[in-house]
């Protein structure tokens, strides 16, 4: 992670770049939603944006191993929560 003032100075361009990318993709989300009702595309764009925030703004691109260990379990459990609905769709008899 950027720690010295010099490194941070170098990163500032990156932060603005990410900010602008996020703004651009926000516009894209709205435009795409007008063209197609596709949920997948909307969620893909949102995931991409969220990834940028997490990796660059929250410095997850270069964190200590301990943080990744915590987040590994979080990711598994959160994914479990979001996949729960699959069981609600499953009907072994009527399919």
């Amino acid at each position: 992670m950027a720690e010295t003032p010099e490194e941070i100075r170098k990163h500032i361009r990156l932060y603005w770049g990410v900010g602008i990318t996020l703004l651009v993709f926000t516009v894209i989300t709205v435009v795409v939603a007008k063209i197609t009702p596709s949920i997948t595309i909307g969620l893909l764009i949102a995931t991409f944006k969220a990834g940028l925030v997490a990796l660059i703004f929250m410095h997850l691109n270069s964190e200590k191993p301990m943080i990744y260990k915590i987040l590994f379990f979080t990711a598994i459990f959160a994914a479990g929560l979001l996949w729960l609905f699959i069981w609600s769709l499953k009907d072994p008899i009527m399919r």
């Binding site: 703004f57 301990m66 959160a78 729960l84």
Partner: protein
């Protein structure tokens, strides 16, 4: 004692305290919002009504997204400024973050307010009129009462607060002041009298047993006990008479009929009453007013017609129903023709698009769900549509409300109509009561809004009181801002998902 690792990192984890603390907290936050997003999926899949599209203010949501993204950049800049030891810049960037948070919350306030003010009226045939209550109008029942039969048993006196004039209550003996203290006293007196009656009853029972015992020691004993009961009962009854001389007249009654002078003007929300008719109004505490029903209706400035449920409920014939016969057109007959025409055009357009696609991709079915947008129409759009494609046609729509029986005039193509309660299946604001979409919308955005508020408070604290810590140890303040910033980015990250999910899909 000095707390270790507030600034420097532990050698084994490579982290300082607050850093690992905030990540553990964010992990739990992920689970909290994860649970709610999971609920959203369940509610959406299980919805037994067409999931709403385009009911939220997209431009406002878009602006709020922009604001949160900018604030995320600003909070990184504030942190970077501290790292570069530029305190002045830190103040500027952090102020910008707080400003963004405030703008976000104000926008949210506008959005919520609009939803609270927007009303939906589902008619008995499930066709829907949406709009706003006419200015100065309320959806309350208005009733003019000459008599009231007040029920004393549960001491509920809520009906009093819905009488708008200074109507007074008269019994045969004269005026009775209807106030909380009066009800409480009456309840108290009733309770004591009941106890006295019970003791009297016990006395009588014991006397009876004594009679059956036919003399002897046990009969004597029973009589003695009966006497004691009798004494207590009388003492209580006397006390009631003495303490509540003014209530003596009603002793033992559970309800009483009063004449109201002048006649009471009652304005009461539907939820406060259990039954109503042309000449009677019954409150939840069983108090009944007799008189004349003045109005039981909603006066609505209509801005939208929605026939989605009208067509989707199979028990009423579902899709086979005739659009022109929907109940809403009794209230807005002037838009019936335009609506039906537009709907048919929309359907034809969808069908041709569908069949063209299916011809091209032989064998596959069209992926888009049967988009029901043409069953739901904002009157503004209907008028714009009509104005555009039928120029020179006879004057249509706007102002047509004037000659519709019972319907008043409108403004800007929004007719004002009066819908009687008898015709209404369901009435609601655009709040969680309306449907599960609004329930999850308010839960998710409300919780997110609280996070914005909480984050803004913490960051404001760093902004206002940061100077002394900065002088002592600038790296420590930088660490605090980094942790506050991590939370702030998380709040932004949640909104990145909320915006498309709630506003666009």
């Amino acid at each position: 004692m000095e707390i270790p690792y507030t600034v420097s990192a532990r050698s084994d984890t490579g982290l300082w305290n607050a850093k690992i603390g905030i990540w553990l907290f964010l992990a739990s936050e992920v689970m909290l919002f994860g649970g709610l997003f999971s609920s959203y999926i369940f509610l959406r899949l299980g919805a037994d009504y067409p999931w709403p599209h385009g009911e939220l203010n997209v431009p406002l949501g878009f602006i709020n997204t922009i604001i949160l993204i900018l604030s995320s950049v600003f909070v990184v800049m504030a942190w970077a400024s501290l790292k570069m030891r530029q305190y002045g810049n830190y103040l500027k960037w952090m102020s910008a973050v707080i400003l963004c948070a405030l703008i976000f919350l104000v926008n949210k306030g506008f959005e919520y307010h609009a939803k609270f003010e927007h009303k939906t009226v589902v008619l008995k045939d499930r066709s829907v009129l949406a709009g706003h209550l006419a200015e100065g109008a309320s959806a309350d029942i208005r009733f003019r009462a000459k008599y009231a039969t007040v029920d004393f048993t549960n001491g509920n006196h809520r009906f009093l607060r819905f009488i708008e004039n200074d109507a007074r209550f008269f019994s045969e003996k004269g005026e009775v002041k209807m106030e909380r203290a009066w009800f409480e006293r009456y309840r108290q007196a009733n309770r004591m009298q009941a106890k006295a009656d019970y003791l009297g009853g016990e006395a009588a029972r014991l006397e009876g047993e004594a009679e059956e015992a036919q003399g002897g020691a046990s009969a004597q004993e029973l009589r003695k006990r009966a006497e004691a009961f009798r004494r207590d009962s009388k003492a209580l009854a006397d006390e009631v008479k003495k303490s509540y001389p003014d209530l003596e007249d009603f002793g033992g009654t559970t309800s009483m009929r009063f004449e109201l002078r002048p006649e009471a003007e009652i304005s009461v929300p539907r939820k406060e009453i259990t039954a109503w008719g042309d000449n009677e109004l019954t409150f939840k505490d069983a108090t009944v007013f007799e008189g004349l029903l003045e109005s039981a209706m909603v006066k609505l400035v209509v801005d939208e017609i929605d026939l989605q449920e009208f067509f989707s409920r199979s028990e009423h014939g579902g899709a086979d129903r005739d659009a022109a016969e929907a109940g809403v057109f009794r209230y807005v007959p002037e838009v019936q023709e335009a609506f039906v025409r537009r709907r048919e055009e929309g359907r034809a357009e969808f069908e041709s698009k569908k069949s063209a696609w299916e011809r091209k991709h032989s064998g596959k079915t069209f992926p888009e769900p049967a988009y029901q947008g043409y069953d739901k129409v904002y009157l503004d759009k209907l008028h714009a549509h009509e104005g555009g494609s039928h120029e020179g046609d006879e004057k249509h729509g706007v102002g047509g409300g004037a000659d519709a029986g019972g319907a008043g005039g409108g403004h800007g193509g929004h007719p004002t109509v009066e819908i009687p309660y008898q015709d209404i299946r369901f009435f609601s604001s655009y709040t969680p009561k309306k449907n599960t979409y609004y329930a999850i919308y308010f839960t998710l955005t409300g919780l997110h809004g609280l996070h914005v508020l909480g984050g803004a408070l913490v960051l404001s604290f760093f902004l206002i009181f940061g100077k002394s810590l900065y002088r002592k140890n600038p790296e420590h303040l930088a660490n605090r801002v980094e942790v506050g910033g991590l939370f702030w980015h998380f709040v932004d990250l949640v909104w990145i998902f909320l915006f498309p999910i709630l506003y666009l899909m």
